[in-house]
């Protein structure tokens, strides 16, 4: 089967998942105790507003009808209207998407730059001091909450060490973004590094112990060549799949980090909307996050398939 066919089939498999995702997002509102419209509106719960929301969300109708309407709206690209700002929630999310995408992209790159060398070091120097250190340090990192790490980075790099990086904000222009986003991206990356290092080390060890590496070694190939020729390719494959699996964790980290670094992304939008009980926006952001993650899964699969000859397109 061709790559296109493979991608098409994977896309098709996404259909039931997409259904599930929309159902879950749809049902969020029905988890709200009491009359969701009243609760959601909070201080804005004038009878007119409540009635308006009831009409908008069709809350008086049977659930399947409500869900069908919700789907139809999403299909039209209508994610509802922000209660707080009276603008389309979809537009709000789109406006705020770039910083989050930057953050995720940069964090992914940093995470790879940090964890791959560490994992390789640990795997090749197994059981030696370096291995123990590499394995222990991430464990310590795992215990610290990301907001704490973020503020500490701000304190150290943003203030004391010559104010090397801006304290919060998104910056402007490519270089500006890169400069401003470095610390937040580093925070997100540090959050996932313990997991990546540990996992990569394990899969590298697996590769190094595998038959074909042993064969290569027995053929008298120099160790360096064994590592580069055989181990590296597999290491890349492992990295891609490990990253893919953990993208949900990485993306979730942006929520907290955007808050700490005052980045105008969709994570901040979500938290902010939660405090303002702006339900349509919370729904929209949740949906967009899920779409992002599902797309990354798809991308990972495709990249994996391209890289790994063992994966056939079937």
């Amino acid at each position: 089967m061709s790559l296109t066919g493979y991608v098409a089939r994977r896309l098709l498999q996404l259909v039931p998942i997409a259904f599930g995702v929309t159902i879950l997002v749809f049902f969020l509102i029905h988890l709200v105790p009491g009359d969701p419209a009243r609760t959601m509106l909070g201080n804005h719960a004038t009878p007119q507003n409540v009635a308006l929301l009831h009409r908008q969300w069709g809350l008086d109708e049977p659930l399947p009808v409500q869900y069908w309407r919700f789907l139809a709206r999403i299909a039209r690209g209508d994610l509802g209207s922000s209660l707080n700002y009276s603008v389309p929630a979809g537009r709000l999310v789109l406006e705020r998407l770039p910083p989050t995408l930057w953050l995720i992209g940069l964090a992914t790159i940093l995470a790879v730059l940090i964890s791959v060398p560490l994992a390789a070091l640990a795997a090749t120097k197994r059981d030696r001091a370096a291995d123990h250190v590499v394995r222990a340090v991430p464990l310590v990192g795992l215990g610290f909450p990301q907001f704490w790490v973020g503020i500490m980075l701000l304190l150290v790099f943003g203030l004391h060490l010559g104010r090397a990086f801006p304290v919060g904000g998104y910056g402007s222009g490519f270089v500006g973004h890169l400069h401003s986003m470095f610390l937040p991206a580093l925070t997100v990356a540090l959050g996932i590094t313990p997991i990546l290092v540990r996992s990569l080390r394990a899969s590298l060890l697996e590769v190094l112990e595998s038959d074909y590496v042993t064969t290569a070694r027995s053929k008298g190939l120099p160790e360096r060549r064994v590592l580069v020729r055989h181990a590296l390719r597999n290491a890349v494959i492992s990295t891609v799949s490990v990253l893919g699996v953990n993208i949900g964790f990485l993306v979730g980290g942006t929520l907290v980090v955007e808050q700490v670094f005052a980045l105008p992304g969709i994570g901040q939008l979500m938290i902010n909307s939660i405090f303002q009980r702006d339900f349509p926006v919370v729904q929209a952001v949740t949906l967009v996050f899920a779409v992002m993650v599902v797309l990354v899964y798809l991308l990972t699969d495709v990249v994996h398939a391209l890289l790994d000859p063992r994966v056939r397109f079937d």
């Binding site: 603008v87 304190l155 939008l269 902010n272």
Partner: protein, 517 residues
């Protein structure tokens, strides 16, 4: 706080309102010998994002303070807050019966679109504002009609003689917009309003920032000094402080109390406490049987060590409250003793009550609201000595006030900031069970106090009125209608390169006077 403001707006009757503004301490006022410099831009980091720029309907301070840079009123409060000064008008005359006001408009005032302001604009603006029944329109109910006999004259006809008229006209809600919204729809217009103010609309990222730029047509020659002002929303207080210290922002709104001392010592930073009209209370809901007992309420009020709270929670930047009125409001009686901390008396009161053995009570606390949580824990400990077990009921800060408003709480926190500097606004709200707010939602009712408050509304003799308000404050304090906790200032930290920044007791500021060196 918009939640509070909103409710007040709906409930408070605009009966006897005297003058806008309030007494301001001189501290913090800029006195610089150097001449202001033109140019530069500043960023103000805030605790909340703005909701709307429709000044006639918005109740959120974070929105109002920005609209005030765009839309100006005919009169404005002076920095001392006690009096008003001509602004877009130059003068007014009042008819003998007090029912007709004639304003002369300031010549040479232009909107940011270059068009000159005329009486037609004024008539349109205030006619529109008073139509907004869900907004601040209730303050304009005394107005019968508005005439614009010639381009520089506006005549207001009132239904009855109304003392606070000028204060009302000075309110931001009665700011001037172009006639017929310069050809736009109402909704469209308020997405990027046009006004005569020092700054005009530039751009906005919803949920994150708002930027205004210099209005080239501003009527005060040479002002504003700044090219641009950006308001950002930075929820984390540590980040706001670090941004200020790192030079990313120039103004940090409301740094937490614990960082004030450090900020005062920080090089390059000016930490200023502006006197405010804010008073914080502990509300005791009388629908909950034990709290209906006056002895219990007196006991609670006397069991709370306000000095310790001010010292440990406000780090000394505030003072214990002795009345439900703040010191910045006329007729505040500083000699009202209030029920102060006295554990022995508290215990004696408790013995006299129907609940000598104590009881359990729920305290409503905003989730994540640091100050409320800390004070709540202090109360928990101090009331334990009376046998009162305080249980926390955590609630979203956005729904917390709604719960109080619906009377579905036992004890809760709330505060008041004045919109207008006459005590009646607050007195009616706090002690009149029929005043619309069920006595600050505590359901407190003392017919004597209520009657006195009605008398005070009608009393025109200042000395007699003062005596009435003193009696009200004393009686209410003896009843422990609420627990008065403390008065606290507005806290602003900004770079020492910033000059002319001054916050009035109601919380607003004039950015046209601000410049960067």
């Amino acid at each position: 706080m918009h939640t509070r403001r909103r409710v007040f707006a709906f409930l408070v009757t605009a009966s006897v309102i005297a003058a806008l503004g309030a007494a301001a301490a001189p501290g913090g006022r800029e006195t610089t010998a150097t001449t202001p410099k033109r140019g530069g831009q500043i960023t103000i980091a805030r605790i909340e994002d703005s909701q709307s720029f429709d000044k006639t309907t918005v109740f959120q301070n974070e929105s109002i303070w920005i609209t005030e840079q765009i839309n100006e009123s005919l009169y404005a409060a002076k920095n001392d807050g006690k009096t008003l000064k001509p602004w877009l008008a130059t003068s007014y005359t009042k008819s003998a019966d007090g029912k007709t006001y004639t304003f002369k408009l300031r010549p040479g005032v232009k909107f940011s679109n270059g068009k000159a302001m005329t009486s037609a604009d004024v008539k349109f603006s205030i006619d529109d504002a008073r139509k907004q029944s869900k907004g601040w329109g209730y303050l304009d109910v005394a107005i019968k009609s508005i005439d614009a006999p010639n381009p520089s004259t506006v005549v207001f006809h009132l239904k009855y003689s109304w003392a606070p008229f000028l204060a009302d006209i000075a309110l931001f809600a009665n700011g001037i917009v172009p006639n017929k919204f310069a050809g736009q729809s109402r909704a469209q217009f308020y997405k990027h309003p046009i006004g005569t103010g020092p700054f005009m609309w530039d751009k906005r990222t919803v949920g994150h920032s708002v930027t205004l730029k210099r209005n080239p047509f501003y009527w005060q020659k040479g002002k504003p000094y700044l090219d641009r002002v950006t308001w950002t929303f930075v929820s984390d207080e540590n980040t706001r402080e670090l941004q200020l210290r790192g030079g990313q922002i120039q103004v940090d709104e409301f740094p937490p109390f614990n960082s004030i001392r450090k900020l005062k010592q920080a090089a390059g930073i000016k930490m200023t406490l502006f006197s405010s009209t804010r008073t914080d209370y502990l509300l005791l809901n009388e629908k909950y049987a034990p709290l209906k007992d006056v002895h219990v309420r007196r006991a609670i009020s006397q069991a709370i060590d306000r000095k310790s709270i001010v010292k440990s929670v406000l780090f000394g930047y505030g003072s214990p409250a002795n009345s439900f009125l703040p010191p910045q409001v006329p007729f505040y009686d500083k000699n009202t003793p209030g029920l102060q901390f006295n554990m022995a008396q508290a215990k004696a009161e408790m013995k006299k009550s129907k609940f000598p053995g104590g009881f359990k009570v729920q305290l409503l606390v905003g989730a994540g609201a640091q100050v409320e949580n800390t004070i709540g824990q202090i109360l928990q400990q101090q009331l334990k000595q009376l046998g009162i077990t305080v249980e926390f009921k955590q609630q979203d800060t956005s729904t917390e006030f709604q719960t109080i408003q619906e009377g579905k709480y036992q004890m809760g926190f709330s505060y008041w900031t004045m919109d207008i500097a006459d005590p009646d606004e607050l007195v009616t709200f706090a002690v009149d069970p029929k005043g619309g707010a069920s006595s600050f939602f505590t359901f407190y009712s003392n017919p004597t106090v209520t009657k006195l408050s009605h008398q005070a509304q009608r009393e025109t003799n200042t000395a007699k009125r003062a005596a009435l308000y003193s009696r009200i404050q004393r009686l209410a304090a003896a009843d422990a209608n609420m627990v008065y906790l403390y008065y606290s200032p507005f806290r602003w930290a900004y770079t020492d390169k910033l000059h002319g920044f001054y916050v009035q007791p109601l919380g607003n500021y004039h950015l046209e006077d601000v410049w960067l060196s």
